[in-house]
Symmetry: C3
């Protein structure tokens, strides 16, 4: 059983987190909220999101699984204003999610979740940890996109840097420790990532909010942030591209 | 003879009514105003529009016919602000319409109207009649467009509904009689229509205004509304798609 | 040596002047400012621009030449707000221009200028001279673009006109002398120009400003205007298309 009401902008934040990574998702529902874990088809990125029942205006659920075509849900939410309240109801007999906004009801066929795996979140020791405003990062990423497909993230005890090296040009974004919310690392670490994936992850972060990153040396990056006014937590994991050094 | 001045937004409303249906139109001009009747190339929809001379800032005309390429007129009007006054003058010798806005004059070749037929508006008995705000309808249509190419319009003594059935999903929009301007029907009626045509018709209705529909059982729908601050009347007729029942 | 700071909107104006004409440019730098002269690949249009050092917040330079890929510079400037101050520094050893805005540094490879010619600005006697507001002209050009690829510029002692003749339609824009800032011509002159080039030139003029044109009979037009709050001067020269007269 799953029956809930949520503001449209809350649901839009949830959809943004997964839509650039996967088309079809399985939400694991409990009486406490929703959990979603998914890996992109290329196995480069993973998302691990949990939304507390407190993120909803109303929430009543038993343990169940709901398989959703994210694109359809996204289309429907575009019709709603941010402060519209959306009504969600799982019709178990007809295997549908019924979504109501104002005068409109969409009865949406659910996806069969039996074949969908439960990715395990790897346990990684990432020595560097830093917190920075997402809007600052986004500016640096936009500048990088014209230069190369990869971006290096570099944490030193003094600063956090993003560097992008093209054949001709180079873009560097740098923030000193004193201008960041926090930065802790025992030594300098550096990993290289596919820029498009990293860029898409940061696009899902609500503007103005803080994003925390955990970094190592040629290791994945873990990107953490809150959505739904702090009632939802997102952890992305992105695999590094090992630099050949030639 | 035809010589008139009109606000750009009035002319834009006139152009919107016909531009999604036909490319070339014949305006029948009299001393009282303009009348336009046209059928789309697929013979699925008809428009019957009359614009009173009171919709114009100035209007002087004898009986004549003017054949216009709607796309050209639309392009030109895009250059004008809504409150610009447009000057229209039929140059009968050169078979042109001269249009002036500000410093700009466009001398537009007219289309030969001799081959253009005068469609007859059929006399239909449509038992259901209802009036509703166009903005509400447009929300329901947008939700439907992601689901199917057809939309069913259903009037019952209690409510007006639009329903769209896709292979997987269903969209339903419903308004109770008490939330509508008016709704009268002796019995429940239902007809199915091509969604794109119906959607285009409603796009021509000025935002915020009331639209009246006349409906039957597997019968055409007649959509009526006012433009030009009430000085112009539009009647669309849209053919039903007969449901095969399988 | 070249080292300067400038507001982003000043640099954007400079980029707009050349970007529609050429991809790669050579700036000739002196202690007094920058000069740029370039001809488009089809040899139809020429630009001659000089930017005083007073257009910059800071400016320190010896005589040098800097070859820039205009598209790259334009991309980078899109990241900046109009009032951001951009830091420019020529790294002569690495043949780069280092550009800094906020936290972001782009190190941009320069283009080799040894092969780039210095076009000579021809000395033309153009009898007609007129000054008009650019926004008025732009409206006339937009109306013309739907009708033909060429535009005739016509100055008479009484008025300035732009005329565009299509196969079917004609667009005419006309300004009487009394409605213009100035108009002086000993006789009527008329020349025909490629509309796209002329349109692109006027797009580079800051909105609201005055543009001065010098015209002859089947002769090039010289278009002059100021950028960078009057601290930069632009002169475009556009070759006429000789009318065949058939």
């Amino acid at each position: 059983m799953f029956q809930a009401k949520a503001r449209a902008d809350t649901l839009k934040e949830v959809v943004n987190v997964v839509s650039t990574l996967v088309d079809e998702v399985k939400f694991s529902v409990t009486s406490e909220g929703l959990v979603l874990r998914a890996v992109d088809p290329a196995h480069i990125a993973m998302v691990d999101m949990s939304i507390s029942k407190d993120a909803f205006e109303e929430f009543k659920a038993d343990e169940t699984e709901i398989g959703i075509d994210i694109d359809k849900l996204s289309q429907f939410l575009k019709l709603a204003r941010g402060d519209d309240v959306i009504d969600l109801k799982h019709d178990e007999d007809k295997r549908r999610l019924n979504i109501v906004v104002g005068d409109i009801t969409r009865r949406m066929s659910l996806i069969d979740t039996t074949g969908m795996s439960d990715p395990k979140v790897p346990n990684l020791e990432l020595p560097a940890k830093l917190t920075v405003n997402v809007d600052d990062l986004v500016q640096g990423i936009k500048a990088s996109e014209t230069v190369s497909d990869h971006i290096a993230l570099i944490a030193t005890p003094e600063s956090f840097e993003m560097t992008c090296e093209g054949d001709m040009d180079q873009v560097n974004w740098r923030k000193a420790k004193k201008d960041m919310e926090s930065l802790e690392t025992p030594s300098s670490v550096r990993s290289l990532f596919p820029l498009e994936y990293f860029s898409n992850m940061l696009k899902a972060v609500p503007s103005g909010s803080a994003v925390t990153m955990h970094l190592g040396n040629d290791y994945p990056v873990r990107v953490e942030f809150k959505i739904a006014n702090g009632k939802g937590e997102v952890r992305y994991l992105l695999a590094p591209r090992i630099e050949s050094g030639d």
